[in-house]
């Protein structure tokens, strides 16, 4: 039988290059524009502001990348964040008299956030995988539920962290090490770990397989139910982490907290080159997506060439343009 020539065959590139450079180009273009429009744009202060602000959406978007790669979707993250933030504040305020201002209360709050996020993710995941309802519907439902739960907890108003506690907790958002603020550090950590697990980890491989073809994955003895469940739980946890970073910023939560975060996160994921239909995802792309989105907003605030009424329009155009840059990859769903 004639020997094959495969030994000599070069490993072909996995993706058309445009999908890889596309988002990067878009990002660089934005940075150049920003730098031209305003000298302070590239200043330390502004960059820190933008990056720290992106951290919330960013951390969530990392989890969203896993969910979408596995073929899922989660519309509830925004209101989930609001709810968790509200819960954290209520719990911490309640525990204050007992524990007093100090690390214990914060740790209690952190625990609350993580556990709440885990449970919330678990609920979404179970309804989707075990009960078998479209992810879109489940998370649309829970989106409404969490949103009105926080409104109800706050009596329609705003839940505020006790003032003393706020000043104690504040540094978690505003300080950092070596001039890098904590949100940025945590965001970076999530990204690095996420990227490694998605691209090099067995779990990530199983996530992609499940999203690419759940039945094949099943026949390859991948426990697809557990994998999909895990992605939602992971996302829930990361929402919790994001909230832990968010609460110290203003020390309050209301029913306007986290509005539209879900759309921003999903948009970031797709701009980053992950397939909405699942099967392929990359965390580093998501990061670029997040940065693109928050830079657009930042640039719009740094200039007054456009009427503030039109900010939304500019953002819309930019999002589409950013994706056109890498359309080669996927044909519109």
């Amino acid at each position: 039988m004639t020997q094959t020539d495969t030994a000599t065959a070069r490993p072909a590139r996995r993706l058309p290059p445009m999908t890889v450079i596309g988002p990067v180009v878009a990002l660089i273009a934005l940075i150049v524009i920003g730098a031209m429009l305003n000298p302070n744009f590239l200043g330390y202060a502004n960059l820190t502001n933008v990056l720290s602000r992106s951290a919330f959406i960013g951390i969530i978007a990392v989890g969203m990348t896993f969910v979408i790669t596995a073929g899922g979707l989660d519309l509830s993250v925004g209101s989930m964040a609001a709810f968790i933030a509200g819960l954290m504040i209520v719990v911490m305020n309640a525990a204050l008299p007992v524990l007093g201002v100090g690390l214990p209360v914060i740790l209690l709050g952190v625990a609350t956030a993580l556990i709440a996020g885990l449970i919330a993710g678990l609920i979404n995941g179970l309804l989707i995988t075990k009960v078998g309802i479209e992810a879109f519907i489940v998370t649309l439902g829970t989106m409404g539920i969490y949103r009105s739960l926080v409104t109800w907890m706050a009596d329609g108003g705003t839940l505020s962290l006790d003032f003393g506690l706020r000043t104690f907790y504040r540094p978690v958002y505003y300080d950092g090490i070596l001039g890098i603020s904590w949100p940025i550090i945590v965001f970076a950590l999530c990204v690095i770990v996420g990227e490694i697990f998605l691209s090099r980890g067995v779990f990530g491989r199983h996530v992609a397989a499940t999203g690419a073809n759940a039945e094949v994955a099943h026949y390859s003895s991948v426990n697809t139910t557990r994998v999909r469940l895990a992605t939602y739980v992971l996302l829930g946890l990361l929402v919790g982490v994001a909230t832990i970073m968010y609460v110290p910023r203003l020390g309050s939560a209301s029913q306007t907290t986290g509005i539209l975060w879900e759309l921003e996160a999903i948009a970031a994921v797709i701009i980053g080159g992950t397939y909405l239909k699942g099967g392929f995802g990359r965390v580093w792309g998501t990061v670029i997506g997040v940065l693109i989105l928050s830079l657009i907003e930042n640039i719009l605030n740094l200039t007054d060439h456009v009427s503030p009424y039109l900010n939304g329009a500019v953002q819309g155009v930019m999002i589409i343009l950013a994706v056109i840059l890498q359309r080669g990859a996927k044909t519109g769903k």
């Binding site: 305003n38 302070n40 744009f41 200043g43 202060a45 502004n46 502001n49 602000r53 409104t151 706050a154 009596d155 329609g156 108003g157 705003t158 505020s160 505003y174 910023r249 203003l250 309050s252 209301s254 029913q255 306007t256 907290t257 907003e297 930042n298 605030n301 740094l302 007054d304 503030p308 009424y309 900010n311």
Partner: protein, 293 residues
């Protein structure tokens, strides 16, 4: 025994002030249902004009209300439907925002948005006699917001106060925080901020603290949120004053309507609840510790 039903239709708590207004509405309804056993209340909150019209339609169709207390989400779209109600003989109480046709309502408890802007503007003129550079945080794009800004600009006319920029903070702490951060990196010198709302003021001040900038002399919010009034009371330089736009006006309206329904005391007419400047001197009387707002 036959109960009279009073419908209350208000915008949902999509921002702090509305939240306070929701709270007062709820509280008043609960209280009045105790006081007047012959009264029954229907409270509906809407997140846009169309939804508010739905609510009002439902009240008429299914709860045959004898009176309606409405805080129009927007004037224009509500005018038609409410007019239809008043023609069918239902008592109409309009709160805060007038309808676009005169004389539909039996009772009008009015807020004064241009006034709110004007009072704020006047405070700036006397706080910054020799002018200065300020930035403005605007609310959710609505007629109210436009009226307030117009009133403000009118008041600072020719006072040498220059508005560097105005962006929408959507009466939302996070958005105003973001906008303010960017204003700060955009303008090396800002003398003061008109946040036009206490939620936005809180967001803006958080941004200012974080940036450690000391060029900003003060931030003027509005609508009298309790934390802010407290800070004014305590003489905080950053919060030298506040401008009332009491969400409690809904309570007044509901109460007067209830009285009108149960007695034959004359309650019709127009009651304008003007915006008042709160200063450290008069702060106590505007401080409601138990309100969520």
């Amino acid at each position: 025994q036959d109960t009279t039903v009073i419908g209350v239709s208000i915008p949902a708590a999509t921002h702090g002030w509305a939240g306070g207004m929701n709270y007062h509405a709820q509280a008043t309804v609960d209280r009045l249902e105790e006081v007047y056993p012959q009264l029954d209340f229907v409270l509906a909150t809407a997140s846009n004009a169309a939804e508010q019209v739905n609510d009002i339609e439902d009240m008429v169709a299914t709860r045959d209300i004898a009176a309606l207390v409405v805080l129009p989400f927007e004037s224009e779209p509500l005018t038609g439907p409410v007019q239809a109600l008043s023609e069918s003989g239902i008592w109409i109480t309009v709160v805060d925002r007038g309808l676009s046709v005169e004389g539909i309502e039996d009772l009008y408890v009015a807020g004064d948005n241009p006034g709110f802007g004007r009072v704020s503007g006047e405070f700036f003129t006397q706080a910054m006699p020799d002018g200065g550079q300020i930035v403005v945080l605007r609310g959710i794009p609505t007629t109210i917001d436009n009226e307030r800004l117009a009133g403000f600009e009118e008041a600072i006319e020719g006072s040498g106060i220059e508005i560097l920029a105005a962006e929408h903070g959507n009466w939302n702490r996070d958005d105003s925080f973001t906008v303010m951060q960017d204003f700060l990196s955009r303008y090396p010198q800002i003398d003061a901020v008109w946040a036009s709302d206490d939620d936005m003021a809180i967001g803006a001040m958080a941004a200012i603290d974080a940036a450690g900038r000391d060029d900003i002399q003060f931030v003027l919010g509005g609508a009298g949120m309790k934390e802010m009034i407290q800070r004014t009371m305590e003489g905080d330089e950053m919060v030298p004053a506040n401008v009332t736009y009491p969400p409690a006006m809904i309570a007044t309206a509901i109460e007067m309507t209830a009285v009108g329904m149960t007695s034959n005391a004359p309650v019709s007419g127009t009651f304008t609840i003007g915006s008042v400047l709160i200063t450290p001197e008069n702060a106590e009387q505007y401080y409601y510790p138990d309100s969520p707002f």
